[in-house]
Symmetry: C2
Subunit: 110 residues, 2 copies
């Protein structure tokens, strides 16, 4: 049996109220991992670093901010894409009145 | 001057009619590249392989299909996410009556 990653399609729920995994990392992919995050108003994912991975997030719905360890604040809204380099502390907060839905993808920095 | 990647935010145009770059690869990122693709009805990006990179695409608007080299067809619609492993021939076609808008992200397979 091959452990090589296969092409696949994943359907997201536009009205999701909780986290949905998209890509789980090896052997499903080479290094990519991805998930669909839902944050209720006032909630945050918590300060974290993706360590040796770089990250891109795509805002699907709602309003929020990405707060970097150095205090930089990136405003998040639909059609925003944010990039966060490896080894960078950050948090994502819902600052709006509805759910904040976004998709992240991380990959090994090479 | 540091060449280390910096965090950043990119705003996409929901009504875009042409390609918009999101992430250009090193030194802007470690290995990630990303772009926002707009295909008019009947158009396709053309058969290609991302070689040593793996790819994820996120459908923003419209309807289409990803056709793999082995004939597999993945149906694309809003809230669909497709994954394509390295060294995999594929094409993306707009099969709908309006613009197909999607975002891709590729990263080195490690």
């Amino acid at each position: 049996m091959s452990q090589k990653p296969m092409s696949k399609i994943i359907q997201l729920d536009p009205t999701a109220t909780e986290y949905q995994r998209i890509l789980n990392g090896p052997p499903e992919t080479m290094t990519m991992r991805s998930g669909y995050v839902v944050l209720q108003p006032g909630n945050s994912v918590g300060r974290h670093s993706t360590e040796t991975f770089e990250e891109m997030i795509v805002i699907i719905d709602g309003e929020g901010e990405m707060v970097l360890g150095d205090g930089t604040v990136l405003l998040l809204k639909p059609y925003s894409v944010a990039y966060c380099p490896p080894a960078t502390e950050h948090d994502v907060r819902n600052t709006g009145s509805g759910a904040l839905r976004y998709l992240y993808v991380v990959s090994a920095a090479g």
